[in-house]
């Protein structure tokens, strides 16, 4: 199939035989294929046999488009590159929509284990790995079994079952394969079951009907975002432990205020857009 890609917010570069007449070209967004997007001009591109389409509307590199032309049998599919999509998904769920600071999930574990940097790193690493595994397993179960069999109402029970079994399995395998690692990370494994992020990721994926790539990006981004939040928080808490905090604010109240300040600063990421 001939190649086509979005090169700037309102231009598409197309390779292959394209009629010069604008009226013979039809460009649609794959999500709503009934609404054609207006193409204002077709110019020959730099390379031989390539064309530059200019559109009236703004195009996004993250979107899927379908380009058809009269006299050309095969349509052009314009899809974002998988790697670019993955990176934008990971950054989106780790920074812009950080699960701890903008979706307020996983707070109990977050406040529980952010007392020192060592535990924060241990929990962060363990959670990222187990979260990714459970995210992918739940996605597979949902797409291959729950959706085709119309068992959507079993979502909650199925996902929490996967998490519980997975945590138990990882615990057993790690104990057998690498006892040293188990001694270091085993305690965090138990805590993972009560972390709502691990359940929120499969639920969000199921609600949005995510593809394999999207599910992977969200699971990994959620884990990395949680690990980042945990690490930042533990750095701040270690400093506050030395500070003269008013007695009624000691402990959790001040930790909440600090988390609030972090949440405020994470608001700054909301303008971030990955091209």
């Amino acid at each position: 199939m001939a190649d086509a890609k979005v090169v700037s917010p309102n231009q598409i570069q197309v390779e292959g035989p394209l009629p010069a007449d604008v009226g013979a070209i039809r460009l649609v967004r794959s999500a709503d294929a009934d609404i054609p997007l207006a193409v204002t001009s077709v110019k020959p591109g730099e390379k031989a046999d390539s064309f530059l389409l200019t559109t009236a509307e703004t195009l996004s590199k993250q979107d899927h488009y379908l380009l058809t032309a009269k006299g050309v049998a095969q349509p052009w599919e314009i899809a974002p590159s998988p790697l670019g999509l993955l990176i934008s998904l990971i950054i989106g769920s780790a920074l812009i929509n950080n699960f701890v600071f903008t979706r307020y999930l996983g707070l109990c574990v977050f406040f529980g284990v952010s007392k020192s940097k060592d535990t924060a790193i241990g929990m962060g690493v363990t959670f990222t790995i187990v979260g990714l595994l459970s995210g992918m397993l739940s996605w597979a179960l949902n797409t291959l079994a729950l959706v085709p069999l119309k068992l959507g109402f079993m979502q909650i029970i199925a996902f929490i079952g996967i998490v519980a079994c997975l945590v138990q399995a990882v615990d057993l395998i790690l104990k057998k394969v690498n006892p040293v690692l188990h001694k270091k990370f085993g305690i965090y494994l138990v805590l993972i079951t009560t972390n709502c992020i691990i359940l929120a990721v499969p639920l969000l994926n199921a609600t949005s009907g995510a593809t394999l790539l999207q599910a992977f990006g969200l699971s990994l981004g959620a884990g990395l975002g949680f690990a980042l939040a945990l690490f930042l928080m533990s750095c701040a808490i270690e400093k506050v432990a030395m500070a003269p905090v008013p007695i009624v604010f000691k402990g959790l109240p001040i930790a909440f205020i600090i988390a609030g300040l972090f949440a405020l600063s994470f608001l700054g990421f909301s303008g971030l857009k990955v091209a």
Partner: protein, 214 residues
């Protein structure tokens, strides 16, 4: 795992959950919803009620089956019991309260992972009969509901200048508190107020500094 010890009287069970062991401000359990959905009283009330119902039903079912289940697998069994009740509540809310459900739906599903419910089953239902378990669940659930409503009214009043969606003051006094960050500030402040009241009354501060798990 015995029922030898007599359960505390009903009023102790009820008040314990609301004040001295308030799930949100004292035990620091189930904080996610407390920060997340308390942007308005209505959302807080809805999720609080859902948790109250799930807590009572799960505590009672946990107490009913405590002799049948092997203690080694009690955590997975408890989780499944909670998941069943949450699924039921989730479907009821989605069917009858569609508008509010749109906003808090994800958090209703996440009640499964709320530590307060499983910790009450583990700490209380495993040791007591159905009736005391009912009162304990009711007390803890009501404490949670009260915390949600308190945080919800504080944030809605200051952030949007209204209560239950009805305008109380004609302006928005402090927009900050309905922002994501405001939830953290609100809970932190209310916890500090709880501590302050205790200090004023000459009580020793409870050590809610290290005990939060789950």
């Amino acid at each position: 795992m015995s029922t030898n010890r007599p359960p505390p009287p009903v009023h102790t069970l009820l008040m314990r959950g609301i004040f001295e062991e308030n799930p949100i401000f004292r035990l620091a359990l189930s904080l996610c919803p407390a920060v997340a959905v308390t942007t308005s009283v209505k959302n807080g009330l809805m999720l609080g009620t859902a948790v109250l119902i799930v807590q009572v039903l799960s505590s009672m079912s946990g107490s009913l089956v405590k002799h049948i289940i092997n203690p080694k697998i009690r955590i997975p069994v408890f989780t499944l019991i909670i998941a069943i009740w949450v699924s039921a509540i989730d479907m009821i809310l989605a069917a009858y309260f569609a508008a509010v459900y749109q906003e808090v739906g994800l958090y209703v599903k996440l009640i499964v992972a709320f530590a307060i419910i499983i910790s009450r089953m583990e700490l209380f239902s495993m040791k007591h009969n159905v009736v005391p378990s009912f009162w304990d669940g009711l007390g803890m659930g009501t404490g949670f509901l009260a915390g949600m409503v308190l945080a919800g009214s504080f944030r809605e009043l200051l952030g949007s200048g209204s209560l239950f969606g009805i305008a109380v003051v004609p302006f928005k006094p402090l927009m900050l508190v309905v922002l994501p960050a405001g939830g953290f500030f609100t809970i932190g402040l209310i916890m500090a107020i709880f501590n302050w009241v205790d200090v004023k009354r000459g009580h020793k501060l409870p050590s809610n500094t290290g005990g939060s798990h789950g």
